[in-house]
């Protein structure tokens, strides 16, 4: 599988089809990997793919706008790539997608993954198998049944730890705004002071901003240095988008994100007012 991937990368770089290949390389200890950028064909041998390749490489695509890049994408990352193309952050012709038939990495999302099909990729590495996994929303449903007080107490405990390093925001493929509300001083939605309440506001606003665009890729949860359970929120949002607007982000590259469109007769939210 790795060989195949290296060959593709080498060919793309040698033929100057792309400026960069973004993939994974071995990291500081055995069994760890990290994202790598390469622009020389001889570097291609560095490419690896194993269970530790959890990073969502789609996050780099909006940053290389004017250049061409090939990106290694798992099924889940592919949804983010589509979402970025949909939002015109990169042109489809500027990105070469090397899809990987992934059977799961060390991430919480993999046990319920239904996203390993690789539709619309330029190259497929490995063979896509039906993993027979099913979506499971039982944890969200269980959390929804708690009282407001219990929910608040849970989140207070989580966000007490938050150090506001903004890793969750910066690894998010759809958080590409050049000017984030958290950095803005006028109007100041978010004070620089780090405390539970402010940390919660940051995440509430961030989650609201990525609603309908978040593909539940869990990059934010993987990145969090203090292990805040952000997957609960992203999963909840993908559930809501499906329930309220019958929308799944990252399924295609041309539908409208749910909050930028409307229907006169809404079916999902008819009883809301």
């Amino acid at each position: 599988m790795e060989k195949e991937m290296q060959e593709i990368a080498k060919k793309l770089l040698a033929e100057k089809k792309v400026d960069w290949v973004i993939g994974y390389e071995n990291s500081f200890e055995p069994g760890a990997s990290r994202p790598v950028f390469m622009n020389k064909p001889e570097d291609a041998v560095k490419l690896v793919f194993n269970k530790s390749c959890v990073n969502n490489l789609a996050v780099y695509l909006p940053k290389i706008k004017k250049q061409k890049a090939a990106v290694v994408a798992k099924g889940c990352d592919l949804r983010s790539v589509r979402e970025i193309i949909k939002e015109h952050q990169i042109l489809r012709e500027n990105v070469v997608i090397i899809g990987v038939a992934c059977e799961g990495v060390e991430s919480s999302k993999c046990s319920t993954c239904t996203e390993n099909k690789l539709d619309g990729v330029d190259f497929t590495v490995g063979t896509v198998k039906d993993l027979g996994r099913k979506e499971d929303m039982s944890d969200i449903e269980k959390f929804e049944e708690l009282s407001s007080k219990e929910k608040e107490a849970f989140w207070n405990k989580e966000f007490e730890r938050c150090i506001r390093c903004y890793a969750c925001r910066n690894v998010c493929p759809v958080c590409y705004c050049p000017d984030c509300f958290a950095n803005r001083l006028m109007p100041e939605y978010l004070n620089k002071v780090v405390n539970t309440a402010e940390n919660k506001v940051f995440q509430q606003i961030r989650m609201q901003h990525v609603f309908g665009r978040c593909t539940d890729c869990r990059a934010c949860e993987e990145a969090c240095p203090v292990g805040i359970k952000l997957s609960l929120l992203t999963k909840k949002m993908s559930k809501d988008a499906k329930k309220l607007f019958n929308y799944e982000s990252g399924k295609d590259t041309d539908s409208r994100p749910p909050l930028s469109t409307f229907k006169v007769d809404e079916e999902g939210i008819a009883e809301i007012m």
Binding site: K151, Q208, K236, S260, V264, G268, I272
Partner: protein, 137 residues
Amino acid sequence: MEVKEKKLNIVGFLCNWCSYAGADLTGLGRNIYPADIKIIRIPCTGRMDPMMVIEAFHKGADGVLVSGCHPGDCHYSEGNYYWRRRYAHLKELLDFFGIDKRRFHASWVSASEGKKFAEVVKKVVTETQDWKDSNSK
């Protein structure tokens, strides 16, 4: 209805073209409604940034009401349709964060519905009070 002492902090974001005028008419028509609501005028519910709702709760609001034109009556044709979608998901998301559904409301009140506005505020105040009572237990 008896005028009670103000107890709650409710922020009302009202659309300039319908609900704000509706609230005006409530006063002109001598309809009495609770004084717990503070009104902020916005150009259209389509301008209603969800960040403002989150910020209101963060700064200590007990409840938030957003009110605008009836669907189809928007001064800008479609602003309130967008708000309807935002409201639906924001209510779910905030509830997930522990901001009770009884604290966050939206309604359609036109410029001629002074009486309805008083009813809406009464409902918002009752529900918010209900939440506050159950929460302090």
